[in-house]
Symmetry: C2
Subunit: 285 residues, 2 copies
């Protein structure tokens, strides 16, 4: 469906991600409309020709004609939106999202959704430390991952549409995982990583440390500048998985601390060699 | 003393750091000699005109004429070298080093050293993930910190010489700390950071994770590719300080885990805002 540029795409939530989606898709010739909270976002997007039309209201005509609706909202706002407004959707519409956790969202939405529309979940693994449509860019997705998380409720057609959307957006790696696999992966690679960064950033408030900071510390804390509203919600939405990943990390960290305490040089060197070997896998190809 | 380019500089240990020192200092016109383990390092450095002369032996003439000796060795090898070979040093020579820990090295060396030579310790906070003189570069020190760690035994002249060396090498921030202040700072900013990176890299061996890795995880594990021989020695050489820093980190991490477990959103958001504010201090100026 998606390759047919006569189709209408509606983006709900025109922030950094929604805006970046709009920028890329507009270039392909799709008709892009947007519903978002702030009039200033709409004004900016119209002025930059990122969208064809936009509204801060629940514009029934706009929603009713959309063939593909992309939700770029906070998880709980997304769920609320569907509960309240799904009657406005066009019959046969395909819905997708950008939510960073899946298990706690996908089944909830699919369960409450009308039979004649389909929700196929996706997670574009891309972001910046800034937010808002004003910071959106059509260069954000190159080199990044786009993960579609289908369930038994999804049709092959909707899954393919969503995969194709990822490729159109310019993601380098477009793939599928189950919601559970996705959440475990994201719990480790992204959420645990953010937990570590904010802990490192706040565990020692000694003054003037910044004068001596080198690249290592800066690298480990780049993501310590964090959107507290969004990430606290994402952490709780993936609570059990993240708690397990935090345990894994803490147990290993204690192992290292014990080796240092007992001056077990061989043990530490073995762990460091394991680390070096495993890191090689993660080099950018 | 150091500005007088008629003086002889000897570098003991011609690896990444020693080689990079040689590259920069040679440009100023100093006579640079080097003693190192491998003939291939000497050959390379001569061919590249990084040094004027070099030897894999304890060349008595070379050592005996050096006004400034820079030791770029592993900590225990540095201590051994001084114990065995200090009788070969020129009277009045100034010695300095590049060792990444200070408390466990500086006092040991100064205590055993002849009265007519002086050791002034320094830590160039620069490095790369590669090693060897072949990877040395004269661009490594721009933007980096150079820390001199004087004790009561040091003269103002030697301290100034060492500070001037740091400036000549092109470090952006040249400063002094006590050995104890240095070790606390490095324990937190560098050693704890490496402990975290290698723990993250080894705590979850699930396969195919690299396919989904984004920049956050890559940033946090860049330094997980680690020289096990050197870092295990540096960790043990700063053991008590590092154990304390690891405790600070672990306690904060457990706090976060408890907040997640009890879904204390306000607590998590407060910690994240603290993190964001504090990270702003560490932005590159």
């Amino acid at each position: 469906m998606i390759v047919d540029i006569s189709k209408n795409i509606l983006i709900v939530g025109l922030g950094l991600l929604g805006g970046s989606y709009a920028r890329v898709l507009k270039r392909f010739g799709f008709h892009i409309s947007a519903i978002t909270k702030e009039q200033s976002s709409i004004d900016y997007a119209l002025q930059e020709s990122i969208i064809d039309e936009g509204s801060t209201e629940l514009d029934k005509k706009m929603i009713g004609k959309a063939d593909l609706v992309i939700f770029a909202l906070y998880p709980h706002i997304f769920v609320e939106w569907i509960a309240k407004n799904q009657h406005l959707l066009k019959s046969g519409a395909i819905l997708t999202d950008v939510t960073g956790v899946k298990g706690s969202i996908v089944y909830t939405i699919q369960k409450m959704l009308r039979e004649d529309v389909e929700f196929i979940a996706a997670h574009p693994m891309a972001g910046r430390e800034v937010s808002g449509v004003e910071n959106s860019t059509d260069k954000m997705f190159s080199g990044a991952n786009y993960i579609v998380t289908p369930t038994e409720k999804n049709t092959p057609e909707a899954i393919n549409t969503c995969l194709e959307l990822g490729r159109l957006l310019g993601f380098s790696n477009v793939t599928t995982l189950s919601p559970e696999e996705h959440d475990e992966m994201i719990g480790f690679l992204s959420q645990l990583t953010h937990c570590i960064a904010i802990t490192l950033m706040t565990c020692n408030d000694k003054e003037h440390m910044e004068k001596f900071t080198g690249d290592s510390f800066r690298d480990l804390t780049r993501i310590a500048r964090i959107n507290d509203l969004m990430w606290s919600e994402l952490f709780v939405a993936n609570k059990e998985v993240l708690l397990t990943q935090m345990d894994l990390f803490m147990n290993k960290f204690k192992e290292l601390q014990t080796m240092l305490e007992t001056e077990d040089i061989d043990g530490m060197r073995k762990m460091m060699r394991h680390s070096t070997q495993r890191r090689a896998l993660f080099d950018k190809k």
